[in-house]
């Protein structure tokens, strides 16, 4: 009886801890939205008020106007997202097929190379990549930001290979007996079965492009060519980082699509991230 009570108390404490933690994790979001709805003077009152005296929705259109090219940035970002998602899904699926569904001499040794390249930090390859793109006249254009995505990034190849390996060999054999070529097996048999994994790769790539900062920072030079992430930084830099209500409104607008995307595709997200660690 007493041990049961002790267990109940223990459970209650844990629950309390989780709730407090959850509040702490949500607080920055609430603070962001709260600030974004305040007049500038009210962001400077202490102690802070969570619910503004007067809710200023107009901060949002004003922040957008202040950033000047907000909609251009959005269009640029969406363009890059579209190109990189297409490129990554296609090229990684093709490469992953070669690493999982065909048995060739030395395949698994070469795959170790794939894993090894995941360890190369970006700053290490930054200078040669930049000078290469400079040499062929691509700096200042979007090309360095999307063309490489058609060259199967290691992480996505790894993710898709893990999934392709779980599909039974028999289905390929059956298709082969029916006279399908390797490409037809890939395109008509394996790809349709791999839809959940492809969605995961597409989601991860979309997020990566939406969030990318250093790529646009080094390759783009014209103000109107910037992406949302870079544009927000440029806007903060220009204003000296003091008009917090506008900055928070702009941040909210950039975070919102990602959060929305997460909520409609939560299942894929969580499963995808779980695979990255679980089977590594």
């Amino acid at each position: 009886m007493t041990s049961q009570t002790a267990q109940r108390v223990q459970k209650l404490c844990l629950y309390l801890l989780l709730v407090v933690g959850a509040i702490a994790f949500l607080a920055p979001f609430a603070w962001m939205v709260s600030t974004s709805l305040k007049p500038l003077e009210e962001t400077m009152t202490m102690p802070p008020r969570w619910i503004p005296k007067e809710i200023l929705w107009s901060n949002y259109p004003e922040a957008v106007a202040e950033m000047r090219y907000f909609w251009r940035y959005t269009a640029n970002t969406l363009f890059l997202c579209f190109m990189t998602v297409t490129g990554t899904v296609l090229s990684s699926a093709i490469a992953a097929y070669g690493f999982s569904r065909i048995e060739w001499v030395g395949r698994d040794k070469v795959f170790l190379l794939v894993l090894a390249t995941m360890m190369i930090p970006f700053p290490v390859v930054m200078v040669p990549m930049y000078t290469l793109f400079k040499l062929i006249g691509w700096t200042g254009t979007f090309k360095p930001l999307w063309v490489p995505s058609f060259l199967a990034a290691a992480f996505n190849v790894f993710l898709l290979r893990q999934f392709f390996l779980t599909l039974p060999k028999d289905i390929s054999e059956a298709a082969r007996i029916d006279g399908c070529s390797e490409w037809q097996i890939f395109w008509r048999v394996i790809l349709p079965l791999a839809k959940p994994a492809l969605i995961v790769v597409a989601l991860f790539q979309f997020m990566a492009t939406w969030n990318d900062f250093i790529g646009p920072l080094i390759y783009l030079s014209e103000q109107q060519d910037m992406t949302l992430a870079l544009g927000l930084q440029a806007y903060e830099s220009k204003g000296g980082g003091t008009n917090w209500n506008y900055l928070m409104a702009a941040s909210t607008l950039i975070v919102l699509p990602v959060v929305g995307l997460f909520f409609i595709s939560q299942r894929y997200f969580i499963e995808g991230i779980a695979t990255t660690g679980g089977k590594g």
Binding site: P121, V255, A274
Partner: protein, 305 residues
Amino acid sequence: MTGQEKYNLRMGLLFISPWLCGFILTALYPLVSSLGLSFTDYSVLSKPVFVGTDNYRDLATDELFWQSLWNTFYFAAISIPLNLGLALALAIMLNLNLPGKKYFRTIYFLPSLVPMVCLAVLWQWMLNGRLGLINAMLRPITDVLSAVLEVSISPPNWLVDPAYAKLGLVLAGMWGVGNAVVIFMAGLQDVPRALYDAADLDGCNFWQKTRHVTLPIISPVIYFNGIMGLIGSFQVFAVPYVMTDGGEGPARSLLFAATYIFNKTFRSLSMGYACAISLILFLIILALTLVATKLTKRHIHYEGK
């Protein structure tokens, strides 16, 4: 080699060719080129000039370089264990199947979706010494402490104070711990129930079960998250860049290795020098990964191996 084997090899190489091109263009070529350039004086505007090991010799006496390395190590040494510990603790608590587990998981995961730039701008505001939320929460505590101890204690001026700037960055980073939490939770799902039942029969309490059942079984996942944290924290760039408006922080406290490489490349156009730094950074990450692998090898338990 039989005809079938030859055919398979050809098809295999054909399919992996997108990756092969990518490997050559975005990994092999840059690494080799970086190594070559590190022995030159190169400004992009003119051809590289061979200078032997001058860049490496200059690095030895370059105070900024050592400062950036120190900052990077300091940041990594604090943020990796804190993030791992927090992620593991959250994952274990979430795995107890309390009601509302799904909602908690979503809440803890959400911040890891926030783009780096937004995270940096938001936490700059959160950590604002005078008006930020963090200090608004700390102030009542420091006020009480001041009254009790009869000395004046006030909350830190985070990003403006060299002693606290990196801690502020660590705090901001811990908000995005959700990714690791989800990976840990997946690992915890794989712990066989039977082991817990056996431990229950032996009269183990929660801590004993965690220590002797959970941790050994998920040690590969801890290792994985640790290495990911290592690679990530040694190339920290975007958040300090945005928080300092492309600067180095108070008393250069936010000058990290990646920041220094960026500055040398795009501000002083010393590309050869930047390559030398980047190779050293790469070697450090590689060495630490190998050391971590060696040190943890005995403690990592691989199921069925």
